[in-house]
């Protein structure tokens, strides 16, 4: 780790003022940042510990329906919150399938969205060609080991995936990420928060230097929702693919569907074409569901080693829909 100076933040105002200086980094749970420091992925000169900022670790119902989750709420506390379990099971399930119980006691929901790809070349202890580590150095994975890389939205500059589980649920839920910044805050739709590699392959998300996530807002309750994570072992592992489904139903008929896939692109991948076709479908009609899902795979592009992920992703989407339909409303 390169040396840094450290300070604990007491107020939001001083946090966003100090964070705006280049070379500053926020520390929340530390479960990503510490590994970046160890691997040389980040080397900030100043660390601003935001973990004790007041009022950012609360979960509260919003006046018009919906829920506001403070960015510093620990993952275990979000997932096991009564209202999240009852009204947003897709988010609770996504979180409980992420990382380990100990890590979830440290990790925050805001920090989770800022995790970087698990691409092994990116996380290597020795520097390998990787445009996300050093822009212009190339992509080792493109002609290397890429069996778990992207099937959507990749470019030859970077074929990695975003590994967050909660982000997939938030994208399917149409959640909003609320930020504060010295030049004013914003509200960012969760599905537009992460960046594809087509413009700036080194960037992961739309946040500016010093922009602080303060909360995540969920729209109206989505009790008919579910998350499905496919991985190489049963527990404590990143996804090969995952799927989040959010349904509104009239009896057995799907009125509206929100669908997103995880670990298939550098952002949670919304299946918009499929969602359109699903409206009006009978949830018991597997063929209709599969045909609808198929619509969103016209743009899928496999790499040398990962064509299997296309089939896996279609099946995961189908099963997530079926699981969501079985949830009590």
């Amino acid at each position: 780790m390169t040396p840094f100076v450290y300070a604990r933040a007491d107020s939001l105002g001083e946090t966003i003022a100090a964070g705006a200086a280049p070379d500053s980094a926020f520390l929340a749970g530390g479960t990503e940042l510490l590994n970046w420091l160890r691997l040389g992925i980040a080397g900030p000169a100043r660390i601003i510990d935001i973990s004790r900022l007041d009022g950012l670790d609360q979960i509260e119902a919003l006046p018009g329906g919906g829920l506001r989750i403070g960015a510093l709420t620990h993952l275990n506390d979000v997932a096991q919150h009564e209202l999240v379990m009852r009204d947003y099971p897709v988010l609770s399930q996504a979180i409980l399938n992420a990382a380990s119980p100990q890590l979830r006691n440290l990790a925050t929901i805001g920090g989770n969205l800022l995790q970087k790809t698990r691409c092994a070349y990116f996380r290597a202890e020795e520097q390998l060609p990787c445009n996300k580590r050093r822009l212009g150095s190339g992509c080792s994975a493109l002609h290397g080991i890429n069996d778990n890389h992207a099937i959507f939205g990749w470019t030859e500059d970077c074929i990695a995936t975003q590994p967050s589980d909660p982000a997939v649920a938030l994208a399917a839920l149409d959640a909003v990420i609320v930020t504060a910044h010295r030049s004013g805050g914003r509200r960012i739709p969760a599905a537009e928060f992460h960046l594809l590699p087509d413009t700036r392959p080194e960037a992961d998300n739309v946040l500016q230097q010093g922009e602080l996530i303060t909360a995540i807002e969920l729209p109206a309750p989505a009790p008919r929702s579910a998350y499905l994570k496919v991985r190489e072992r049963e527990s404590y592992e990143y996804a090969i693919v995952s799927a989040a489904a959010v349904l509104e139903m009239d009896g057995r008929t799907i009125r509206r569907a929100g669908l997103a896939l995880g670990s298939v692109a550098l952002r949670p991948w919304r299946l918009s074409a499929a969602e359109e076709r699903l409206a009006g479908a009978d949830v018991g009609d597997r063929e209709a569901l599969s045909t609808a899902i198929e619509q969103s795979f016209a743009e899928a592009r496999p790499l040398l080693q990962n064509a299997y992920k296309i089939e896996l992703a279609k099946t995961a989407a189908l099963r997530a829909i079926e699981r969501a339909a079985r949830m009590p409303s």
Binding site: V5, A7, A17, T31, R46, N105, L106
Partner: protein, 161 residues
């Protein structure tokens, strides 16, 4: 905001207050426990948050000590494996690991025991599957998993199922 490259840290570890001066902010809680307080029961396995060997309780919650900057734990209370027993009386989880042969080499054991003690408090012992899931953050290279589940189940006071 006051940035410093050396810090004074006050911390309560296993019921004892410590005041540590001249602390480099890069030092993790794990290294502080092992190298400054000489509490070497907490193990350093991966140092990347992956193995759970460094599990301790921070204000009563289980966490990976390798993922925490010591300086950020100012004013908090830490319990390590050395602080779990009540004098000579072992914690029920420690006794259960002995009774059920919950280890071979023992390297992962302090972390397993700390995790299991917390898991029982959390109430995640409804079934063997639930125990396995909520113990999944503690890897055991010797693969003593079946005995570990038995030990946790026994410590939680449930009959074999």
């Amino acid at each position: 905001m006051d940035f410093h490259d050396r810090h004074l840290l006050r911390l309560r570890v296993n019921g004892e207050d410590h005041s540590l001066s001249d602390l480099d902010p890069r030092v993790t809680l794990l290294d502080l426990l092992r190298e400054r307080l000489h509490l070497t029961g907490t193990k350093k396995g991966c140092n990347f948050g992956e193995c759970g060997a460094c599990t301790v309780h921070l204000d009563g919650r289980r966490v990976n000590a390798c993922m925490i900057l010591a300086v950020s734990a100012e004013g908090r209370e830490v319990t390590t494996i050395e602080g779990l027993a009540d004098g000579d009386a072992l914690h029920p989880v420690q006794q259960a690991f002995i009774d059920h042969d919950g280890f071979q080499c023992g390297f992962c054991t302090p972390g397993q025991v700390m995790s299991a003690a917390a898991l029982i408090e959390e109430g995640h012992t409804g079934s063997d599957a639930e125990i396995r899931e909520w113990m999944s953050g503690n890897l055991c290279r010797c693969s003593a998993y079946p005995q570990i589940v038995e030990a946790v189940r026994a410590a939680a006071g449930r009959a074999s199922q």
